[in-house]
Amino acid sequence: MTEQNTTAAASRQPRVYPPKPEAVYLLGTCLVDSFYPEAGMDAIALLQHAGIEVIFPQSQSCCGQPAYNSGYDEQARAVARTQLQAFAADIPVVVMMGSCAGMVHKEYPKLFAGQPEEAAAIALAARSYEFSEFMVNVLQLEQQLAQAEDQSPLTVALHTSCSARRGMGVAAEHKALVENLPGVQVVEPERVAECCGFGGTFAVKQSDISAAMAADKASAIAATGCQRLVSGDCGCLMNIGGTLDKLQGEKQGPAIPVQHLASLLYTRLNGGDGSQISQKRSQQYNKKSGDKA
C-alpha cells in the first residue's frame, strides 16, 4: 500500500519560519479596514517598534473569502488577483485575521490551480502569516512582554477563531501572547473551541442557527466574568460583541468590550492612550451623533 495523500500530509508538517525580515506587508483585511482600523494601526506600530518597515499597499481590498465560501469562485478569483498584485514583492505578509490568513495561506493555491497566476499564488501563500503566528514565531514577542507599560489587573476572555485554531493552527500563539502580558488573567469560557456562529455569509443565510450559536457563545463568555473579550478575528468580535451588547441592552448581561489581539498588545505595552477599545469608541460616537439628531 504505497498511495499517500502527499499534499495533505505535507500541509500537516510544521511550518518553518524565516528570521526577522527588514520589511513586511500588512494585509489589513476588509473588516479591519472599515470596522476595526485601530487594530491595523496598532499592528503597524508593533511591527515598527520591532524595527520592521511596514508596507501597506493602498490597492489592497479583500482576500476574496466571502465569495469563495459561497461558491462563487470566479468572483473570488477576480478579487484575489488584485491582492496578488498588491502584495507582489517577495517579503512576508502579516494578515490581521485568522480567517483571511487561512484564505491566502491555504486556499489561494487551490483557487489558482491551473491558472496563469498559480505560481504567484503559491508564493504568496508561502510567505503569508497570521498576525499572532508572525508575532510569536518570527518576532518572539511573547518573550518581550515583561516590560509592558500597563500592568494593571485585567481579566480577558480569549476567543480563538475556528480559522485561527483549526485552519491556521495558531491557538497556542494566541494564548502565548495574551498569557504573557503582566497583569492579564486569561479566563476560558465553556466549550472554548466551539464556533461562535459567525461563518461569514452563514450568519445571514442561516441567521436563526447563527444567532443561537452566538447566544450560547456570548452567555459562556459573560459567565466567565471577564472584563474584555479579545480575538484575532473581527468577524467573531462583531458577532459575539454584538450579541453581548444586545444581552446588555436587554439587561441580561454585563457590558463586555471587545478588542483585537493587536490592540490589546499595543495598549498594554505602551499604556492606555495608544489606541482605544473599539466598542467604547463607537459608543462615544453614538452618543455624539444622537445629540446631533
Binding site: M1, E3, N5, A8, A9, Y25, L26, G28, C30, D33, S34, P37, E38, G40, M41, V54, I55, F56, Q58, Q60, C62, G64, A67, N69, S70, G71, Y72, Q75, A78, R81, T82, A86, I91, C162, R166, E194, C195, G197, G199, G200, F202, A203, Q206, S207, D208, I209, S210, A211, A212, A214, A215, M238, G242, K246, G249, S278, S282, Y285, N286, S289
Partner: protein, 535 residues
C-alpha cells in the same frame, strides 16, 4: 418509584395517547416536506430537542476525547485510516471484483445494484424466491438510504428493525436523526409513551407504561427475541467487506446484528460499494478508529465476521447469504476530482457529534437519511442539488468535523466545493442524465444559482477588484456611518441585528489612517542601493 409509575400508568388513556402520537407523526411527516430553514427554526425553538442533542454531543465528544488521550497517536492512526481508505478507493473496481470472486468462493451470492430501486427489487426478488414474508433488520443506513422498508412493506413483507434506536424510530413512524444513535432525539418520557401506545408483545397485548430504562429495554428485547425466532429472513448492513478473504464485517453493540445474521435461514447483507477494504490487516485500525470515534469505545460489544452460509454438519447459521452491492450515485462521486474523498467515510458519526450546527438543529432538520456534515456532503451527491442543495448553507465552515473525522475527509472543503457546484453557471438537469457514470459533475449542478445572488457577487467583485472603486465604497461607508443606525439599514441588516447590536464603520478606514501616518504604499527593494552606500 416503580409503584408510582405503575399507578400513574393506570390513569393513562391509551386511546388518547395513540391519537396524540398519530398527530405527532403526521406533523413529523408534514415538516419533513418543508424547507430546511423551517425545520431548523422549529428545532431551535424545541427546548427538549435542543437539550437532547446538546447533551448527546457533549457526552459523545467527551467519550471520544477520553479514548484518544494521545494527540500524536491519534494523528498517526488517522493517517493510517486515511491511507487505508484511499488505498481502497484507488483500487476500487479491482477490489470489488476480487471481493465478488472470494465471496462467491465462500458461498455468498453477490448482486450489483446501480440504483436504489434496483437494490430494493433485487432484495425483494431474493425474499419472494425464498417465500420470506417476515424480515428482521440489523441496523443499516444504506437500507434507509434506498428506503427498503417502504418498498418491502408496500409489497406485503413485514420488516422489523431490531436495533433498539431503529426499533423506536420505526415505531414512531419517523426516520433516524443520527446514523449511530437513531433515536437520540427522543427522551425517556417520549420513549415510554411510544412503547406503551404502539409496541405489542407477542400475545398481542400492550406493553405496560414505564420510564425505567432497563424495563423499557427488557420489553423491547422480549418482543424482538420472539421476532428473531420466527423471521424468515435477516437483512443487515456491512461495515467493512474484506476483498482478499471474502468476509463481511459487522460492528454492533446490542447482539441484534448477530441474531439478524445467524438466526433466520436467509441473510441478505446490503452495502455501498465503497465499504470494501483489500485485506484483513486493514481491519483492526479501521475498527478501532470507528468504535472510538463513534461512541468512545475501545471496541464494540460485538464484532461479526461473516464468511459464508452454514456448512454441512454445522448447527447454526443461515442457509443462504447474499450481498447486495449498492452504487446509487457512488460511481459518480468516485469520478469527481474533488469530491471523491466523500467515499472514504466509515459512517462513525463523529462529524455530526462535533458539529455545532447539528448540535442545535438535530438530525431531522436536514431532511435526509444522512444528517450533519457527512450528510451535507453525501446527500446532495446521491439525491441531487435541486432537492438537497439548501442544507449546504447550514455550515459555518468552522472545521470541527474535519478535525474529528477519523479518516481525514476534508468535510469543510467538500461542503464548499458543493456550494460552488450548486451555484455553478453551468446547469445540469438531473433528469436528463441517463448514465450516472458518464458525467463527473454533481446531479443538479447550478440548481441553486439565482439571478439576485449572482448579481450581488458580481457587484461585490467589481468594488473589491478595482482599488479606486473600493476606496470610494469604504469612504462612503465611513462617512455615512450614521446611516447604519437608520431605519432603512435596520431593515436591510435585520438578519444580523435581530439578535445583535448594529455594527458601525469607523470614522476613517485603515487605508486612510495608514496613509495619514505615512505608512509606505509600495515596497522599494533598495538592498542594492544600501550595499552601494556601504561600499
Amino acid at each position: 418509584m416503580s409503584q408510582k409509575i405503575a399507578s400513574d400508568s393506570m390513569h393513562i388513556n391509551i386511546e388518547q395517547l395513540q391519537q396524540e402520537l398519530n398527530v405527532e407523526q403526521r406533523e413529523f411527516n408534514e415538516l419533513q416536506q418543508r424547507h430546511f430553514k423551517v425545520r431548523a427554526k422549529m428545532a431551535l425553538e424545541n427546548e427538549a430537542l435542543r437539550k437532547s442533542f446538546r447533551g448527546a454531543s457533549d457526552f459523545l465528544m467527551g467519550k471520544r476525547k477520553a479514548v484518544f488521550p494521545d494527540e500524536s497517536a491519534l494523528s498517526a492512526l488517522r493517517d493510517r485510516g486515511e491511507a487505508i481508505r484511499q488505498h481502497s478507493l484507488a483500487n476500487l473496481p479491482e477490489l470489488l471484483e476480487r471481493l465478488e470472486k472470494n465471496l462467491t468462493a465462500n458461498g455468498i451470492q453477490v448482486h450489483w445494484a446501480e440504483t436504489a430501486d434496483e437494490a430494493c427489487t433485487i432484495i425483494h426478488d431474493i425474499l419472494t424466491a425464498n417465500n420470506a414474508r417476515t424480515v428482521v433488520k440489523g441496523k443499516s443506513m444504506v437500507t434507509e438510504e434506498i428506503e427498503l422498508n417502504h418498498f418491502l412493506e408496500a409489497r406485503g413483507i413485514e420488516c422489523l428493525e431490531s436495533d433498539m434506536g431503529e426499533y423506536l424510530v420505526q415505531l414512531a413512524g419517523e426516520t433516524p436523526s443520527h446514523i449511530i444513535m437513531p433515536a437520540i432525539h427522543k427522551n425517556k418520557a417520549q420513549i415510554a409513551r411510544l412503547m406503551h401506545a404502539r409496541a405489542q408483545t407477542s400475545d398481542g397485548s400492550q406493553v405496560p407504561y414505564t420510564e425505567d430504562v432497563d424495563e423499557l429495554i427488557g420489553n423491547a428485547r422480549a418482543i424482538l427475541r420472539d421476532k428473531f425466532m420466527r423471521a424468515d429472513a435477516g437483512i443487515s448492513g456491512v461495515n467493512m467487506a474484506v476483498a482478499n478473504s471474502g468476509t463481511l464485517c459487522l460492528v454492533e453493540n446490542e447482539g441484534n446484528g448477530r441474531m439478524t445474521t445467524t438466526m433466520p435461514k436467509l441473510h441478505i447483507a446490503v452495502t455501498g460499494i465503497e465499504k470494501v477494504v483489500e485485506d484483513f490487516s486493514h481491519v483492526p485500525e479501521l475498527l478501532t478508529l470507528l468504535t472510538r470515534s463513534a461512541t468512545g469505545q475501545k471496541i464494540s460489544t460485538y464484532f461479526n465476521m461473516i464468511s459464508g452460509p452454514k456448512k454441512a454438519g454445522e448447527l447454526d447459521g443461515p442457509e443462504q447469504v447474499h450481498l447486495v452491492l449498492v452504487d446509487n450515485g457512488r460511481s459518480r462521486i468516485f469520478s469527481h476530482p474533488v469530491l471523491k474523498p466523500t467515499l472514504q467515510c466509515i459512517r462513525c458519526g463523529a462529524c455530526m457529534n462535533h458539529c455545532p450546527v447539528y448540535a442545535r438543529v438535530g438530525g431531522h432538520a436536514y431532511g435526509s437519511t444522512y444528517p450533519g456534515p457527512i450528510g451535507q456532503v453525501v446527500t446532495p451527491q446521491i439525491a441531487g442539488l435541486e432537492k438537497h442543495g439548501d442544507m449546504l448553507s447550514a455550515c459555518s465552515l468552522n472545521g470541527a468535523c474535519g478535525e474529528a473525522c477519523p479518516v481525514r475527509i476534508p468535510l469543510p472543503e467538500l461542503i464548499r466545493e458543493l456550494r460552488a457546484e450548486a451555484v455553478s453557471p453551468q446547469f445540469t438537469d438531473a433528469a436528463a442524465v441517463t448514465d450516472a457514470t458518464a458525467v463527473q459533475e454533481v446531479m443538479g449542478r447550478g440548481a441553486k444559482r439565482t439571478l439576485g445572488e449572482s448579481l450581488i457577487w458580481r457587484g461585490w467583485a467589481l468594488t473589491h477588484r478595482f482599488a479606486p472603486l473600493y476606496r470610494i465604497m469604504t469612504t462612503a461607508m465611513t462617512r455615512g456611518r450614521g446611516l447604519f443606525r437608520s431605519k432603512a439599514a435596520a431593515v436591510l441588516l435585520s438578519p444580523w441585528t435581530d439578535s445583535r447590536s448594529t455594527p458601525q464603520p469607523a470614522r476613517r478606514s485603515l487605508h486612510e489612517l495608514a496613509k495619514a501616518r505615512g505608512v509606505a504604499d509600495q515596497y522599494q527593494n533598495n538592498t542594492a542601493d544600501k550595499r552601494g552606500d556601504n561600499a
